[in-house]
């Protein structure tokens, strides 16, 4: 253990949580500005396809259902870990990672389909903004998945120790935050085009 270990241990809990919360707020500003860029670019099709030509309601519904359910399972994983039910916590976290992985697969499938139909990010201002927005969200989900898998391993080795709990707590904040971003994505980007 490093020398600062005791000091670090004393900070785990409220301080690290608030710090992470402040990071989430700055991430919210980042996403807000990407949304603003998207709004500005939303009619610049350059004679290319619009969202109405590309989006698929079924795919969107599946993606949304996966992400929404995963925000339930991570809350249950956190709850189980708080109650020191390690096995349950690992199971719920595993399900969360599977649901998040399913979401990412559907997203990759959708985006690669767009690129194949000559509707990649280079096609128009609209599509550049769309790929930036959805891609940034997808990258965040990927980071959350790596984090989740790491925590599963840590839970299995260390159990529901204080630091592991604190990490799980922050992952659950991160994951719910990503779900909120996704609410904005399907409400502002997808659904208006699918009417």
């Amino acid at each position: 253990m490093i020398a600062a270990s005791e000091h670090v241990r004393a900070q785990v809990g409220t301080d690290t949580e608030l710090g992470f919360w402040l990071y989430l707020m700055s991430d919210a500003v980042l996403f807000g500005l990407i949304f603003a860029t998207f709004a500005v670019m939303s009619t610049n099709f350059a004679d290319g396809p619009s969202g109405a030509d590309l989006f698929d309601m079924k795919n969107l519904a599946y993606q949304t259902a996966l992400l929404l359910t995963s925000s339930l399972t991570i809350a249950l994983a956190h709850r189980a870990a708080m109650d020191t039910h390690t096995v349950q916590a690992v199971l719920w976290l595993g399900i969360t990672c599977l649901l998040g992985g399913g979401f990412l697969l559907l997203e990759l499938h959708e985006l690669s389909g767009f690129v194949e139909r000559d509707a990649g990010p280079g096609r128009s201002g609209y599509l550049s903004a769309f790929f930036t927005l959805v891609g940034t969200h997808g990258l965040h989900v990927t980071a959350g998945l790596i984090w989740g898998v790491t925590l599963i391993v840590q839970l299995m080795i260390k159990g529901t120790e204080k630091r592991v709990l604190s990490r799980l707590n922050r992952l659950s904040l991160f994951w719910h935050f990503l779900d909120i971003v996704w609410i904005c994505v399907f409400s502002l980007v997808y659904l208006p085009e699918l009417m």
Binding site: L18, W21, L22, M25, S26, A28, V29, G32, L33, F35, A36, T37, A39, V40, M57, A61, T64, L68, S71, L72, A75, L76, H78, R79, M82, N169, S172, L173, H176, F177, D179, I180, I183, C184, S187, L188, L191, P192, L194, M195
Partner: protein, 96 residues
């Protein structure tokens, strides 16, 4: 932090508030304008549901710093996002 019952209540509300705009779009219940308002309203309420039931934002003392920093971030977002859209759409109108 979260009681099990509040997790399930939050999830049930979120499912309802997601299914509502999807059904309205798929079933074409309302006129275009009204559907857009419904989507916006459902999204805002659902964000509030997530913040309250999953992220622990509320009127209690425990997470006051979170609520204050959220408020600050919201002010920044309104200025930057609103300002961007205002300025650029104004410019767009002048160019057409």
């Amino acid at each position: 932090m979260h009681e099990k019952s509040s997790i399930w209540i939050g999830f049930a509300l979120a499912v309802f508030l997601t299914a509502l705009p999807f059904a309205a779009v798929a079933g074409q219940w309302l006129a275009r304008e009204a559907t857009l308002w419904l989507i916006a309203l459902a999204a805002i309420v659902q964000i509030a549901v997530h913040l309250h039931f999953f992220l622990g934002i509320g009127f209690h003392r425990k997470h006051r710093e979170r609520a204050i920093s959220l408020l600050f971030a919201s002010v920044l977002l309104i200025i930057m996002v609103g300002g961007t859209i205002w300025v650029i759409s104004n410019l767009y109108l002048r160019m057409t």
